[in-house]
């Protein structure tokens, strides 16, 4: 929005305020649509395991709207898939700054920290993710794996148990969808 305001500064001088407001809204909505489109394309590429291509889309989206937490989160996910865990961690941090209650970003942070073998911190990030969304099978699993690494076996088993429960539900839903198709 700040960029848009700068672009429109010239129009503001000596022009009707409502018209300018309309122009800004119109352009902002065009930008939002563009960002949504880019994120969609990025997700599609990631779905086809073309992560480098996905990163390019996410980067374009971020250049248009650096305050979009989803774009940071998605790029973090793609970074992890390409082994760029430190960069993924940075992106998760950016996403979390923009939205402290972004459960998926916390979960992804846990994943990046696990890959960096920072198990204690990973447990913390996953716990935070699970406080925001207790149905994240992946966060329960990563938490379990990290607790296992830290030798906290009983807690690990509990986390694995939760993860399995959720995974079974997801699996049953996937089966139902398949039957539906």
């Amino acid at each position: 929005m700040a960029t848009l305001l700068r672009n429109h500064r010239q129009i503001v001088v000596g022009e009707n305020y409502d018209r300018v407001k309309y122009e800004i809204r119109k352009e902002a909505s065009m930008t939002t649509n563009e960002v949504v489109g880019l994120l969609k394309k990025g997700r599609a590429s990631a779905g086809r395991t073309k992560f480098k291509e996905a990163i390019v889309y996410y980067e374009k989206a971020l250049s248009l709207d650096p305050n979009n937490p989803e774009a940071w989160y998605l790029r973090a996910a793609a970074f992890i898939e390409t082994g760029r865990n430190a960069e993924a961690l940075n992106d998760c941090a950016r996403a979390i700054v923009l939205n402290q209650n972004y459960a998926d970003a916390w979960s992804k942070k846990g994943h990046a920290l696990y890959n960096l073998e920072r198990f204690e911190e990973a447990v913390f990030a996953c716990t935070r993710a699970l406080a925001l969304n207790g149905n994240d099978a992946s966060a329960w699993y990563i938490k379990g794996v990290c607790l296992d690494e830290l030798g906290r076996n009983d807690e690990a088993q509990e986390a694995y148990g939760k993860s399995l429960e959720l995974e079974i539900i997801l699996d049953m839903e996937a089966e139902k969808k398949k039957v539906g198709k």
């Binding site: 898939e81 890959n115 699993y141 794996v145 296992d148 993860s163 399995l164 079974i168 699996d171 996937a174």
Partner: protein, 342 residues
């Protein structure tokens, strides 16, 4: 193995152990379209440089771990066979396809004679081809399934709950196979197909041990056969049903399975020799199943490449076999079984 996927410690160690024992590399691949059983694309079967275990994208935790563990055992068995002797699979030739299809045809004729509503010739031909292929697939997979699962159960205690869920689901899915065609295919083949799965599930129910896996508990059509008295068995009409017969044949197949698998020490230290012994036991057990099902001359033990080439020539083999059976009634277009439906 290099992966960015989170993996539990026992699985990571198991992958490493498998790679070290076989001196090979394993890659993991998540794919939304993957088979729920996962797929092992291995260097002993295909001309590739490293082994790939593919699993569904929504398997992100312990389900994924179980699939990996199962395929690591499969890989160890194949690799040990390839290293110590030769890894062979049940393949087929033009002649063996003829013998198989001819046998199914004769059995189908017997069944058709008793039916009021006859199966159209086109469907009958498709059925012959599909049944032969299904039994070839099953005989290459089913005998190895209890072996793999028993080994995973003993080596990976931490994923036992996952394994139980998975096996219950697999049992139901396998029993559902051919269900829609129960009245179409010859009774004998429906029963043998179900009997194989019954034996496997019953064996695993005893080995794990998990009563939930027993087909008379897990499979709706078999529930009525739980806790039957001998008198009931002899007097009630459902003794004539295909499901009851599947149980009877399945019990015999279970005995065969136990006879061979009792020789395996499931807790032994993994080594190439150990897995090679398992491979040989699996081959003997498969032969016994083939012989029990009277399919001895349907299949030939050959390297995987032979099977891949045979699969490419399958349509040609089927056409020649059908031509031999039906003579000039057969045209090229009438033999296609690629649709996979009756």
């Amino acid at each position: 193995m290099k992966t960015e996927m989170p993996l539990s410690k026992p699985i990571r160690l198991f992958i490493k152990q498998t790679e070290d024992l076989l001196d090979t590399e394993i890659s993991l691949l998540r794919n939304p379209e993957a088979d729920p059983n996962g797929t092992l694309v291995d260097i002993y079967t295909y001309n590739i440089e490293k082994n790939i275990i593919i699993f569904p994208a929504h398997y992100m935790g312990l389900l994924k771990d179980f699939i990996i563990a199962k395929h690591c055992v499969n890989l160890l068995i194949k690799g040990a066979a390839a290293k110590k002797s030769q890894y062979l699979v049940c393949s087929f030739t033009g002649d063996s396809v003829y013998r198989g299809i001819h046998q199914i045809y004769i059995d189908a004729l017997k069944d058709e004679a008793k039916k009021d509503k006859k199966l159209p010739v086109q469907k009958l031909i498709q059925m012959l081809n599909i049944l032969f292929t299904d039994f070839n697939d099953d005989i290459n997979e089913l005998p190895w399934n209890p072996i793999t699962n028993a080994r995973v159960y003993h080596q990976m205690p931490k994923i036992r709950k996952t394994q139980l869920y998975y096996l219950m689901k697999e049992g139901k899915m396998d029993m559902d196979e051919m269900m829609a065609y129960e009245d179409v295919i010859p009774r004998r083949y429906f029963v043998l197909n179900k009997a194989m799965f019954y034996a496997r599930d019953q064996y695993l129910a005893k080995t794990l041990p998990a009563d939930e896996l027993m087909p008379v508990v897990n499979i709706p059509q078999m529930k009525k056969f739980n806790h039957l008295e001998v008198k009931e068995m002899l007097t009630t009409r459902w003794t004539h049903t295909s499901w009851y017969q599947s149980k009877i044949f399945g019990d015999t197949m279970l005995e065969i399975m136990e006879k061979y698998l009792q020789k395996i020490d499931w807790n032994a230290e993994p080594s190439i020799d150990y897995f090679h012994d398992i491979y040989q036991i699996g081959v003997h057990m498969t032969n016994h199943f083939i012989s029990y099902m009277s399919m001895k001359d349907w299949f030939v033990w050959e390297p995987p490449k032979h099977l891949q080439e045979a699969q490419e020539k399958k349509a040609e083999y089927e056409f020649k076999a059908l031509k031999k059976i039906f003579g000039d009634l057969i045209e090229e277009s009438s033999t296609d079984s690629s649709g996979g439906k009756l």
